[in-house]
């Protein structure tokens, strides 16, 4: 948290708004002068007065997280004016659903396997044969997990710009990864 209400360096908000940065400026702890774009985005999407009202309604110890989440959403909206954060939510929700289906199928296979049945979803596992005559069992380990580390592959190509969103409330800033065109989809709350 940077305090910029000093004699020499107005905070990014007061600099942007071209006003004197007074001691006790509500923006100063959260918009350091070194990050002008952060306030520019927040101001463009939410407006300074709305942000002031929001911050005044929040406990002081939560304001840093609130500002960072606002900055995160504002940047998402600047990058994708149509869908903003909702695009990312839709994309991530689909990933969760896909992974959950895979997990359910794999757990079912595991249970069947543990009960000494050959899972039907794993066609490449060898069949176990009694060793009366010496023989080498046939084993194929082509792509037991979906092929070449398929589980860890990036999700299928999807026109969302935020495939690598990483934001942790404990961080002081958001990190955006990925890029590209916007996509459709809205979540429900």
């Amino acid at each position: 948290m940077a305090s910029s209400s000093s004699y020499n360096s107005p905070c990014a908000a007061c600099k942007f708004l071209r006003r004197k940065c007074m001691p006790g400026c509500i923006f100063a702890p959260y918009f350091p002068p070194e990050e002008p774009q952060k306030f520019a985005n927040v101001h463009k999407i939410f407006g300074a007065s709305n942000v002031t009202k929001l911050l005044n309604d929040i406990m002081p110890h939560q304001r840093e997280d609130a500002v960072n989440s606002l900055a995160y959403e504002a940047e998402a909206r600047v990058r994708d004016p149509v869908y903003g954060c909702v695009g990312a939510i839709s994309f991530l929700q689909r990933q969760v659903d896909r992974l959950q289906k895979e997990l359910d199928a794999t757990n079912a296979d595991l249970i069947r396997y543990a009960c000494n049945e050959v899972p039907s979803g794993l066609p490449h596992l060898s069949s176990i044969q009694p060793i009366t005559p010496p023989q080498n069992p046939t084993r194929r380990f082509g792509d037991i997990d979906g092929g070449g580390g398929g589980f860890y592959q990036s999700p299928p190509s999807f026109p969302y710009p935020y495939a690598n969103y990483q934001w942790n409330p404990s961080n002081s800033g958001g990190n955006f990864g990925g890029g590209g065109g916007g996509g459709g989809g809205q979540g429900n709350i």
């Binding site: 959403e73 149509v82 991530l92 992974l99 997990l103 060793i131 997990d145 589980f151 934001w167 709350i189």
Partner: protein, 144 residues
């Protein structure tokens, strides 16, 4: 003053012009929708965003803004960003569970103990290791 003002013009108690930018998206029968968006973004910012958006995409834009505004009202600290963070956590948990389940399957598969026939008297007992999954099959190393 027309009786078919949109929710925005009704909110501001002004005339709703025929080319009102808000009227297709904020109908009079759902004032709460605009109230929600206005609380977070403000009508002025909303108007600017809509003007910068192609007409055919404005409906989706309003829907997503409304969704984000609702999230922010419900969670003033984290808003939508909290949902994104939570989804990332869920993905990480699901991925690690999936990796663990697959590793267990691979482990079970590699360590299957095949039942051996009881050797009759006189037969050599050298076939105990006829199956050596660990050494014979080069593909095994792929997993370890």
């Amino acid at each position: 003053m027309t009786s078919t003002r949109c929710a925005v013009c009704k909110y501001f108690r002004r005339r709703c012009p025929p080319d009102c930018i808000f009227s297709p998206h904020f109908l009079n029968d759902n004032p709460q929708r605009f109230t929600c968006v206005h609380k977070i973004y403000g009508a002025s910012n909303l108007g600017k965003l809509l003007q910068e958006t192609p007409m055919q995409l404005r409906a989706d834009t309003i829907e997503s803004l409304y969704y984000e505004a609702k999230c922010r009202i419900q969670d003033p600290v984290y808003g939508c960003a909290g949902i994104i963070w939570s989804l990332h956590q869920q993905i990480q948990i699901a991925q690690s569970q999936l990796a663990r389940a697959r590793a267990e399957i691979a482990f079970l598969d590699a360590n299957v103990v095949v039942a051996e026939p009881t050797p009759s008297p006189g037969e050599p007992v050298v076939q105990q290791n006829g199956v050596d999954y660990g050494l014979d099959d080069p593909y095994d190393f792929w997993f370890y």
